[in-house]
């Protein structure tokens, strides 16, 4: 089983660097001359749209060797479905891992949208199913179902979603959904059902993940904790007769030397608001876990280094997972190898700024991984021998046994 590397596509603008928090690429901040953002020039719109920057990032990540892009979804972002549709036609092998929350989408409509996009993109849709995250974000969506019920709802959603796609005609009578004679039309139903990356750290989450996840996705944690979490997931999945793979989402600051990498982090830390360390995220168990791994007072940026090259302050520098890797290209590659040995089959990496860092990580870090090579093109209709744009992967025969 080869290892897939995804890169995050910013759906809410981007910082030009970790040390420049107030500035952004995209139109979420007031326009300042020089910003990569739509603008008025001489009183007229300049014709530039944020999707063009997203395209720059997607094309760069594809050329740099990433298998696909994570398209996150929050109340303050562009929509990942609409964005993926725009990016699909301008990329060749790049897959789109669309983050969505089942509760906020009708499962039958979602199946039709996804199958349509699968067809238009030649099979490049992937799901990142998110159920957690209550609080103000949930209310923003117009939903008020409680945490454990949300997972029960996700379970039903995925059963309906898959049913109308693969068990036509499909009837369902559940707590949250009722469907009679559900069936995608033939050409759409013929499309391959997307791989499911599934997030959630609570017991309710592990239960549903066991039944539905192709990849169990977690934010990076200290490696021991991660290994224990994976063991728990494997146990739950075995009870449901399934064997899931594992994926980890993490940010990266990799530089030619360790010193330069920490310098970049230090500069970002100095511009950050330390109150962000205690920021709330509703009833998310995952966020609470992240916070629990950093013990003791935080006075300097190195206090957040929980093990060599594993730093827990990324949430301060940019919204998202707290833990990521910091180090030289060689060190970051070694830590990724350790995670692969621990059982990770896919990575969702990110760095700021997302355009330049995709090239940096793809060109400098991924090739250092033991067993690194190029995957065959995702679609056999890609046509022609083309080394560039075919994703980098790690071939398991060449790595240490898991």
């Amino acid at each position: 089983m080869s290892v897939d590397f995804y890169w995050r596509i910013g759906m809410h603008g981007d910082q030009p660097s970790l040390r420049r928090r107030a500035e952004s690429r995209g139109d979420w901040a007031p326009h300042v001359p020089g910003r990569i953002a739509p603008a008025l020039r001489h009183g007229e719109p300049d014709g530039y749209a944020y999707v063009e920057h997203m395209l720059d990032v997607a094309r760069a990540a594809e050329a740099a060797g990433f298998y696909g892009g994570l398209m996150p979804s929050f109340p303050f972002t562009d929509d990942p479905w609409a964005s993926a549709a725009m990016l699909a036609r301008e990329t060749r092998t790049f897959r789109f891992m669309i983050a969505f929350q089942p509760g906020f989408l009708n499962p039958v409509h979602a199946a039709r949208m996804a199958a349509t996009l699968q067809r238009a993109s030649r099979g490049r849709v992937v799901y990142n199913v998110i159920t957690g995250g209550g609080g103000p974000a949930q209310a923003w969506w117009g939903d008020e179902v409680a945490h454990d019920d949300r997972y029960a709802r996700t379970d039903e959603f995925l059963r309906v979603h898959r049913g109308v796609w693969q068990e036509r005609p499909f009837d369902f009578d559940g707590r949250f959904y009722r469907v009679a004679g559900g069936a995608l039309p033939d050409p759409l139903a013929a499309e391959e059902f997307p791989e499911i990356y599934f997030s959630g750290s609570s017991a309710a989450a592990l239960d549903v993940a066991a039944r539905h996840a192709d990849y169990y996705l977690s934010w990076l944690e200290p490696f021991d904790a991660l290994a224990a979490k994976f063991a728990a997931v494997r146990e739950h999945a075995a009870a449901a007769g399934r064997v899931p793979r594992f994926a980890v989402r993490l940010d990266v600051v990799a530089r030619p030397t360790e010193r330069e990498a920490w310098e970049e982090v230090r500069r970002g830390f100095e511009a950050a608001d330390l109150r962000g360390l205690d920021g709330g995220a509703g009833d998310s168990v995952g966020v609470a876990r992240s916070r629990s791994f950093v013990s003791g007072p935080v006075t300097g940026y190195r206090d957040l280094e929980v093990q060599p090259n594993v730093w827990g302050g990324f949430g301060l520098l940019r919204g998202g997972p707290a833990f990521g890797l910091v180090g030289s290209y060689r060190q970051v590659a070694e830590r990724l190898e350790e995670l692969i040995a621990l059982g990770v089959d896919a990575f969702i990496l990110a760095g700021v700024p997302h355009l330049e860092e995709s090239y940096r990580v793809g060109e400098e870090v991924l090739p250092l991984l033991r067993g690194a090579g190029r995957r065959a093109a995702a679609s056999d209709r890609a046509g022609g021998e083309d080394r560039r744009g075919t994703p980098v992967t790690v071939f398991p025969e060449a790595t240490a046994s898991k």
Binding site: P16, S17, R19, V32, P33, G34, R35, I36, A39, R41, H42, E44, D46, G47, Y48, E52, H53, L55, D56, R59, A60, A63, P353, L355, E356, Y359, E363, R388, G389
Partner: protein
């Protein structure tokens, strides 16, 4: 002021590469980013996102034909113009006008042309052209005389030393007529530029040398009853701090093998280009004193033909140097850096906003 970028059609990465010739010598490696259409499109798109007006694309025996490359790239961009190089000796002005017309059509009016007379007699002869330096400029003079008329849609009957055209038919003028950019440092070149070009281009010599050339060419143009604009071609290594910028210049130098430096010196010696001789004199083949003016680094020219100097410094310093050239009368800046994608973003985000009177935004064609 207008700011342009550059398309690295011989490949890109973190090393200085030859842009128009192929040098078979130790130390020349394959580019870490091959210049396939997909990557060039990314550079063009980055330049467009970052606010550059046009992208200069070189011509030479060692690089792909710029007309084909740029025509293809027009379909991957919306606002970016293309400053396409050509050599008068290798194409007839009538055919060039026809190509320009088609280019304007497929690009919706985004063509600019860069006249290159050619500076390497060995390369010229390999193409089948045996004119000497001054004859090449005499030919260029006739070429541009015809071109202005054919761009204008006028009928042409012309009988000169180098071109004879009979019965070229009238047509609609090219709309817009592509502006003519012209570079050349010799006396012959200056006369032809003054008589015909819209923009006179110079490689990034120190300000004092640039000032003299501007004065001379301006006077020549005035004698011909014309005004023209001045442009400069410079590389850029701009960073948050001067230390980081100089460190990256040092890294570029480390990637230059002695064999390559020696081979380039031999190449320069066989050329009859005055401009190239002026560039090569700045470093003199040695890495010893490369900062020939504050923040002006001549290291690039040790291994690269054509533009051989880079502005190196933090964003404020680089902007100051650009202002220094502007004060002398330079209005157009053709910049580049390594890699060309990342540096386009960097210059667009951090250097251009510091400069007075930002250029008018490129507008989509009607």
């Amino acid at each position: 002021m207008r700011f342009h970028w550059f398309l690295p059609t011989t490949g890109d990465g973190y090393a200085v590469r030859n842009s128009t010739i192929r040098l078979d010598v130790d130390g020349v490696t394959a580019p870490s980013r091959p210049a396939d259409l997909g990557y060039l499109a990314q550079v063009a798109q980055a330049a467009e996102s970052a606010g550059f007006t046009a992208a200069l694309t070189p011509t030479g025996a060692g690089c792909p034909d710029p007309w084909i490359t740029c025509a293809a790239l027009t379909q991957h961009t919306e606002r970016l113009k293309f400053l396409v190089a050509f050599r008068p000796g290798f194409v007839l002005p009538t055919l060039l006008t026809q190509q320009a017309r088609a280019f304007q059509e497929v690009s919706r009016g985004r063509l600019l042309v860069n006249v290159v007379a050619g500076g390497d007699p060995v390369e010229q002869r390999a193409y089948g052209d045996f004119l000497d330096h001054d004859q090449r400029y005499a030919r260029t003079d006739e070429f541009l005389t015809v071109l202005r008329r054919t761009f204008d849609g006028k009928p042409v009957d012309f009988s000169g030393e180098h071109y004879r055209i009979e019965g070229w038919q009238a047509a609609d003028p090219l709309a817009p007529a592509p502006e003519i950019y012209f570079g050349g440092a010799s006396a012959a070149a200056e006369r032809v530029a003054a008589a015909h070009s819209d923009v006179y281009l110079m490689w990034g010599e120190p300000p004092a040398m640039i000032a003299q050339r501007i004065e001379r060419v301006r006077a020549l143009a005035a004698q011909a009853g014309r005004t023209l604009r001045f442009g400069i071609r410079l590389h850029v290594i701009a960073r948050d701090t001067a230390a980081e910028a100089w460190r990256d210049a040092e890294r570029l130098l480390e990637g230059m093998s002695p064999e390559r430096i020696e081979a380039m010196q031999r190449y320069y010696a066989r050329m009859d280009s005055v401009g190239q001789a002026r560039m090569a004199a700045l470093h003199g083949g040695s890495a010893r004193s490369l900062e020939v003016h504050p923040n002006l680094w001549a290291g690039v020219g040790l291994v690269r033909e054509g533009a051989g100097t880079a502005l190196v410094g933090d964003y404020a310093e680089v902007a100051e140097r650009i202002e220094e050239y502007r004060a002398l009368g330079v209005e157009e800046f053709i910049l580049s850096g390594w890699p060309h994608l990342e540096e386009a973003y960097r210059v667009g985000e951090y250097v251009l906003p510091r400069l007075a009177a930002p250029a008018p935004a490129p507008q989509p064609a009607p």
